[in-house]
Symmetry: C2
């Protein structure tokens, strides 16, 4: 019998080739174990509320009122909601015709897009045009749309860091493009070396690939590094010389845990460089409410800003946005709240700033506890999490462990992470899901478990790792010293 159209044999080959490790084998096994009653610590994905982070009060008050606008006419509303939340809900409702139940324009509500443009302007010191800011159901959807826009065939290449967040590899495969990897330097704190970029692009061109764009993730995912201004300048220059668009994934811009390299946006560095590059280089910058001290992942609020795109190209992107009509309106309002949090003098300011500061300070401490915990294991080396929400330790696996993995039909770091999961309930993602150099192994965890649980989690990791080493170490050496 011929296969049916939705049988595995028949479906889009690009769908089958796509891999997405963050919710891959490890996650599926963790979900099974959870069903069987085992306690799982899900550190596979940056999902702060799932690990106990409480939502910030003020934005949730505003959204609740926007969802139930009839409360605004209730004489008791002041018993449950502060006056500034009520005022803000009215402000956002005045931007819509039909409230949260109506589709907005497919680019998002113009009022919110203006507030975002003003935020970018304050942040960078340069004007931002709301007509070039598009809202999306989470930043991932925007990345996918823009990759689909730029990829026309498997001859179109996208430079992607290794290690990388697998959204990029997955979407490039799904849309039939070619991923062109460039390596980050683990020994240089996951820095970006332009020589690696030159090598990567030369290699791709020799294979007949037109490299069209470069992706940076700053702060880094899974690597946690913060790029310096000089580094960003260099890579912008490189993109300009090579006629590449730059996709700047800046979703962790609020998550900074050191003071030497504060976040600086690719757009600011570009505009600081002046013409001709500032007027020509095409840049797409992504941001979200899912990260920062918000962590509102489940609200699906994201945006991208386009720099140096022609009106004709923007129109094409608008047209594609239109096909799925509009992003969810409450996510749009969260974006508005993110770029316009309560100000000094507002009734809710003190509470809001205490809540948000507590989240960021705790993340900073957790980043340190985790890095230190990993580095206390003799076969683990881990760069400090300068930013973002992840720790990405290198695990030096003994040859016998690598052999045992091969026998089990597993990639060595998958083998290690599965054993870690079964022994401790800690659900991580193997480094192979993000890409790494041949013969080097990592895992990614988030730094998101509750601060009070962190010492026990790291102790549990260390105990597992010690046992693993005892079982597999043969005193002849490690995978890489």
């Amino acid at each position: 019998m011929a296969p049916r159209p939705l049988d595995y044999e028949s479906i889009n080959e690009n769908v089958k080739k796509t891999q997405y490790a963050v919710r891959g084998e490890l996650y599926l096994r963790a979900s099974e174990l959870q069903k069987e009653g085992k306690k799982i610590i899900f550190t596979n994905v940056g999902n702060p509320h799932a690990l106990g982070q409480k939502p910030l009060t003020f934005p949730r008050q505003v959204i609740a009122l926007c969802q139930a606008p009839f409360l605004l006419d209730d004489p008791n509303v002041g018993l449950l909601f502060p006056a500034d939340a009520i005022a803000r809900a009215k402000h956002y409702l005045s931007m819509t015709t039909g409230g949260l139940g109506a589709y907005s324009d497919s680019r998002g509500l113009i009022g919110i897009r203006k507030e975002i443009a003003e935020f970018i302007e304050r942040r960078d010191g340069y004007p931002s045009d709301p007509e070039l800011v598009f809202l999306t159901d989470g930043a991932s959807k925007g990345v996918m749309q823009m990759l689909n826009t730029i990829i026309g065939s498997n001859k179109d290449g996208i430079l992607v860091p290794v290690p990388q967040y697998p959204l990029y590899s997955a979407a490039i495969t799904l849309y039939g493009g070619s991923l062109v990897p460039y390596f980050l330097e683990e020994e240089a704190n996951w820095g970006l070396d332009v020589n690696n970029l030159r090598q990567a692009i030369a290699g791709a061109r020799s294979r007949g690939i037109t490299v069209k764009a470069m992706v940076i993730i700053n702060p880094g995912n899974p690597t946690g590094q913060c790029l310096s201004r000089a580094n960003i300048q260099e890579l912008l220059q490189f993109c300009y010389q090579e006629n590449l668009a730059l996709f700047a994934d800046e979703v962790y811009q609020q998550n900074i845990y050191q003071d030497e390299r504060p976040f600086i946006s690719a757009k600011k560095v570009l505009l600081d460089m002046g013409p001709p590059i500032s007027k020509e280089l095409q840049l797409i910058s992504f941001h979200t409410v899912s990260k920062g001290y918000w962590g509102e992942c489940g609200q699906r609020g994201g945006y991208f800003e386009m720099t140096n795109l022609s009106p004709q190209a923007v129109e094409e992107i608008y047209k594609v946005s239109s096909i799925s009509l509009s992003m969810n309106i409450s996510g749009q309002i969260f974006l508005g709240l993110m770029v316009n949090p309560p100000k000094p003098g507002d009734i809710s300011y003190l509470k809001f700033s205490m809540e948000s500061k507590a989240v960021l300070e705790s993340l900073r401490r957790r980043a340190q506890i985790m890095t230190d915990g990993f580095n206390s294991c003799r076969n683990v080396v881990c760069n400090f999490t300068e930013g973002a929400m992840y720790s990405f330790p290198q695990i030096r696996l003994p040859p016998r462990a690598i052999e045992a993995a091969k026998k089990a039909g597993k990639v060595p770091d998958v083998f290690y992470c599965l054993k870690l999961l079964e022994a401790t309930g800690i659900s991580t993602v193997p480094g192979s899901g993000f890409g790494q150099k041949e013969g080097v192994f990592h895992l990614r965890t988030t730094i998101l478990p509750a601060e009070e649980d962190m010492p026990a989690i790291m102790a549990s990791f260390k105990k597992f790792n010690d046992g693993f080493m005892e079982q597999y170490e043969d005193y002849r050496g490690y995978s890489r010293m």
Copy 2:
């Protein structure tokens, strides 16, 4: 200078070829006029709240509480919220780890998927497996994902009705597939004639196209017809014979304005037919909170159910869903509320049933006023809106109007709709955006303007149309009698 990667010349050709008339030239012109201060009646898209439909109270109370769970501990909560809304909010919050701020599993919350499966079971009288129900940010996103799954190249064809909702033509073009049109029979109340399907598939095959799936929209968009059981049986038999998957767009299943042909799902008809077809034919059914008496478009809550897909294919679809992590959680809860509205005996039952009944009964009356209004124009013929939210009158344009349109460089129905917009502020979509037979012209309006405004809108249309005819009629004939 070489074009840059995101210049119009460089971007994905499929993006450029894609058309989406619902937010096309007419919509853009209407938006401009609105900016200039003109009052626009947006009937281009089925967006009930934007035209004044009020949200149902109970679901909004539940969602507001889920967004602000701290209210549940407030002693004053009972002053603003009824006890059953409070209980329901707790019920949904118990399904999530981390509330509305956490990503869910990429298929959606299992608790909601179970409630949907139970709803399908009650509706159809056959078991439904929650593992085969995936939640999406609106039904459109699900349709796009499944088209991307089934289309592997431009040799893969999808049978799509003409006229059709342009989501289908747009997504098929975007993903590089081939649209294979089949005509609905306007004279037979927009019925589906299997002979047209046979012709369409034979033609496609002679061009080397493998037709992989067929789309039906029931109740119809833009045509408003409700398919009979016999008609659905026939087309299922056709799909089975020709080895096609069926995509059943059933988002208007609650919007029925006649009693002869109540909604019957493709899944029910399929399972009623018994083996072998009931065990083999692959069916994807779509539903949403955007339509019905809910009209909660801005919440972006949709789902699809898969029938007769192998676990291996479902896994591939799950993997692709994972790339964008999860749909928005409040939209998921709206889906739960839609399939489990308040029941007799619940505190909120009476209010909820009065509100929902009022919406549906008014839509029914508006469907009648609109059909009658169009049919009162001597050059307009309009089938009754049996279901969905649209009226799709045929406008018989005099030859001189067609000539004038050509001179203006416009498709004749675009020319007519633009003039209608400028004269009256009524923003419609030309029939050419949905597809129509050669030399026949239509427009689509929603039946959603407020009932009290409807007579004035139809009078305004009639006055415009009379003037248009006076200007262009030459007493020699019409485009098609």
